[in-house]
Each structure stands twice: as structure tokens, then as C-alpha cells.
């Protein structure tokens, strides 16, 4: 089961510059583990003390995962996951 994960510029040092990589997992936590297996170190940049880092936003099919159960958010084949740093609007 492959899920495309879009990686922001700032984390592409972990993906050899790739903008998007494939990973697997039935939950966001599992997906991040699978991501880290192929791109060691990236998990620590996304997660801190068992939760998403404050300045990291992750979207599943454009919806913020914090409103879908956070790391427990369920994923299915074909979902698109986007990782973005939190920036100011307004």
C-alpha cells in the first residue's frame, strides 16, 4: 500500500532532494515510521515527545491531521499526505 508524501524544502535533506516520496502505513504514526526507515532522521523532525511538532502541519487529502486524530489518523491506499511548516498568514 503506497501513499505519496510531499516533503517541504526544509526537510529534503533527508530525501536526497526528492519533493515527494512513497511510504506505507495504516495510520499516520505507521506512515512516519516507514518514512523514517527509508529516510533516517526525518521522524525526529516531525515528532517531539510523542506528538507532532508545533511548527509542523500534516494534511491528509488537504485536511489537517490534528482534526483527524493526529498520529492515530487512519490512512488508506491512494491518500495524499502533505507536510508543511507552519507559517504566518494575514
Amino acid at each position: 500500500m503506497a501513499i505519496e508524501v510531499r516533503i517541504p524544502t526544509i526537510l529534503r535533506t533527508y530525501t536526497d532532494g526528492a519533493k515527494a516520496v512513497d511510504a506505507e502505513g495504516a495510520s499516520l504514526a505507521a506512515l512516519i515510521d516507514s518514512l523514517d526507515a527509508n529516510h533516517p532522521g526525518i521522524k525526529e523532525r516531525l515528532i517531539e515527545n510523542g506528538d507532532l511538532r508545533r511548527f509542523i502541519n500534516i494534511y491528509v487529502n488537504d485536511e489537517d491531521v490534528r482534526f483527524l486524530g493526529g498520529l492515530e489518523a487512519e490512512l488508506s491506499d491512494g491518500d495524499q499526505v502533505v507536510v508543511l511548516p507552519a507559517v504566518a498568514g494575514g
Binding site: 517541504p8 524544502t9 526544509i10 508545533r54 494534511y59 502533505v82 507559517v87 494575514g90
Partner: protein, 315 residues
């Protein structure tokens, strides 16, 4: 409707039904026309309230200089109020904001300091905070952390919506400073707690997310995630497509960020239809499209418009 002066006319905007975009008679969309405010955007509400609260607590006195990081609309609103009240304004704006916004600010007598495009509004906030240390006598209203921003919506936008649409089930607005969503949500959590509060967040091109490190990320001090029920990220393609549909089907000429909000509102409408539920979904028309004509969002194909918006702060 008659008012004593322009500032007194802020708010009290019309709520109009959208019969063409609404999927069924049971699932209806309603647009709150915030472009009808004096300077043409929803930001007149928080800007005026922030200025008035700062006057009340004595921070803002005649002859003062107001400093603010803004990508445009908040600055325009503050500049208008400041012109009438006699304050000088200095705004820090990312250089990748539309030329119209700069011209309008200069017209109202504001001074503009440009911050680098890379990093978007984050950089504007950083530069403004630095300038406020160098000029301790300047007053930074700081829309991202000023409770008066949310209060303007809690006491204005929210009650107006409930009065015009007692059957409201959803409220959808843009997420920037988070002031609109926080304020309106606080009102409904008290007055009608089952109203779902939905955020539409613009997703820009990569340049805007070009932080040097993750610790430079930014979450507005006003933001309280518990006041929101869901949050969607909307890219320029969907925003442009929806803003054109709004004009085509309902005759409303809105700014690009409103397209992003409409996209999220239509998502909620589709969900309600699928669940067989009735819904009255109100969303915000933040401003008109005039200030964004030069971005190229309204001409040519969607592909062309999407390309032109790459790297621009379109919301």
C-alpha cells in the same frame, strides 16, 4: 442606512444566499459580504477594534506612529482609521504581495517597509518585531496576538450571522491571523454550540515555506485549535477555480482567498448531502477581486492562472 461617519459604518454586512452553488434546497450556502466594509475587506472590523482598544488603554495617543506586519488588507484598514484619527503608519509587507495593495496603502499615506519574499508573512512579522525594539515609542497593534482582533468578530460578525441565519449549521472562514475563526467560534460556542467551525488555509508555493529552520515556524498567539472543528489546506488551483465559479454562477467578484474558503464550504456541503443532512453553511467573502487583477488569476486558463500565482502571497 445612515451613520455619523465612515468608521461607524464598519460591519453590519449583508448575508446573501447562493441558489446556484447550493447543492439542494436543504443544503444551502450563504455568503457574508465583507467586501462591503469601508475599505473593502473584512479587516476593517479587527483594525478599527484594535485601534479603539489601544486608544482606550492609553497606548495610542495623538501623534503616535502605528507599526504593523501585514500582507495588505489589515494595513489598508488601519491606514484608513489612522488617516481619520491622525496617526502615522509604518507597515512591513512581504515583497511578493500585489502592487495594488501597495498603491492603496501609499494613497492612504502609509509608509511601507518591504520584507523578503522568501518566508512570506513570517519574515514580515520578524522584521516588524525587530523594528519595534528599535522604536519603542511606536505602537505595534500586532494582529496575530491582539485579543481585540478576535473580539471584533465575537461581538460583530458572529451575532450578525446568527441574527440573519438562525438555522446556521456551519461557519467557514479563512485562517490567517485566526481572528475571524476564533472570535466567531467563541460566540457560537456560547450561543449555538452545534455550529461547526471550519477553517480554510491558503497553501502557497514553496518559496513561502522556505524557512531556514523549523524553529522559525509561526503559529499566531490567538490560535486555539479547540475552537475549530476542521481545517483544510487549499491550493491556488482550487481557489482560482472556485473564485471564478462564484462570479460565473452567482455574480460575485471576490478576491482569491475567498475562492479557497468557498472550496472548503462546498466540501462541507457535499458531506451534508452525502449524509442526508440539511445544512445552512455561511462563509466569508473577505474582499473583492479588484486588488488581485494584476496577479492574472481572473484571465486565461486555470493552468495559466495557477502558474502566475506561484510564489505570490495571493490570500
Amino acid at each position: 442606512m445612515r451613520y455619523d461617519n465612515l468608521l461607524a459604518s464598519v460591519g453590519h454586512t449583508p448575508l446573501v444566499g447562493l441558489p446556484q452553488l447550493s447543492p439542494s434546497p436543504d443544503v444551502r450556502l450563504w455568503a457574508k459580504l465583507e467586501d462591503r466594509n469601508p475599505t473593502g475587506s473584512i479587516k476593517d472590523r479587527p483594525a478599527l477594534r484594535m485601534v479603539e482598544e489601544a486608544e482606550k488603554d492609553g497606548r495610542l495617543r495623538p501623534g503616535c506612529t502605528i507599526l504593523e506586519p501585514t500582507s495588505g488588507n489589515t494595513g489598508i484598514s488601519i491606514a484608513m482609521a489612522a488617516k481619520l484619527k491622525g496617526y502615522r503608519c509604518v507597515f512591513v509587507m512581504p515583497e511578493n504581495t500585489s502592487e495594488e495593495r501597495r498603491q492603496i496603502l501609499r494613497m492612504w499615506g502609509a509608509e511601507i517597509v518591504s520584507s523578503p519574499a522568501a518566508g512570506g508573512s513570517n519574515e514580515a512579522v520578524r522584521v516588524a518585531k525587530q523594528m519595534s525594539v528599535e522604536h519603542p515609542d511606536w505602537v505595534m497593534l500586532y494582529q496575530y496576538g491582539n485579543e481585540a482582533n478576535a473580539l471584533a468578530h465575537e461581538q460583530g460578525t458572529g451575532p450578525e450571522l446568527l441574527a440573519d441565519l438562525p438555522s446556521i449549521t456551519h461557519f467557514v472562514a479563512g485562517l490567517g491571523t485566526t481572528g475571524t475563526l476564533m472570535g466567531v467560534s467563541r460566540f457560537f460556542r456560547q450561543a449555538k454550540p452545534d455550529v461547526r467551525i471550519v477553517a480554510a488555509e491558503p497553501r502557497y508555493g514553496e518559496l513561502v515555506y522556505g524557512l531556514r529552520n523549523l524553529d522559525e515556524g509561526f503559529v499566531p498567539e490567538l490560535y486555539d485549535a479547540s475552537l475549530i472543528d476542521s481545517r483544510f489546506s487549499v491550493g491556488p488551483r482550487d481557489a482560482v477555480r472556485r473564485v471564478r465559479e462564484l462570479l460565473e454562477l452567482e455574480g460575485i467578484f471576490a478576491g482569491i482567498s475567498t475562492g479557497a474558503i468557498l472550496h472548503a464550504a462546498l466540501g462541507q456541503a457535499a458531506k451534508a448531502v452525502k449524509a442526508g443532512e440539511s445544512a445552512d453553511i455561511a462563509f466569508v467573502i473577505c474582499d473583492g477581486g479588484w486588488k488581485y487583477l494584476s496577479t492574472g488569476a481572473y484571465e486565461g486558463t486555470i493552468d495559466e492562472a495557477e502558474d502566475r500565482l506561484e510564489g505570490q502571497l495571493w490570500a
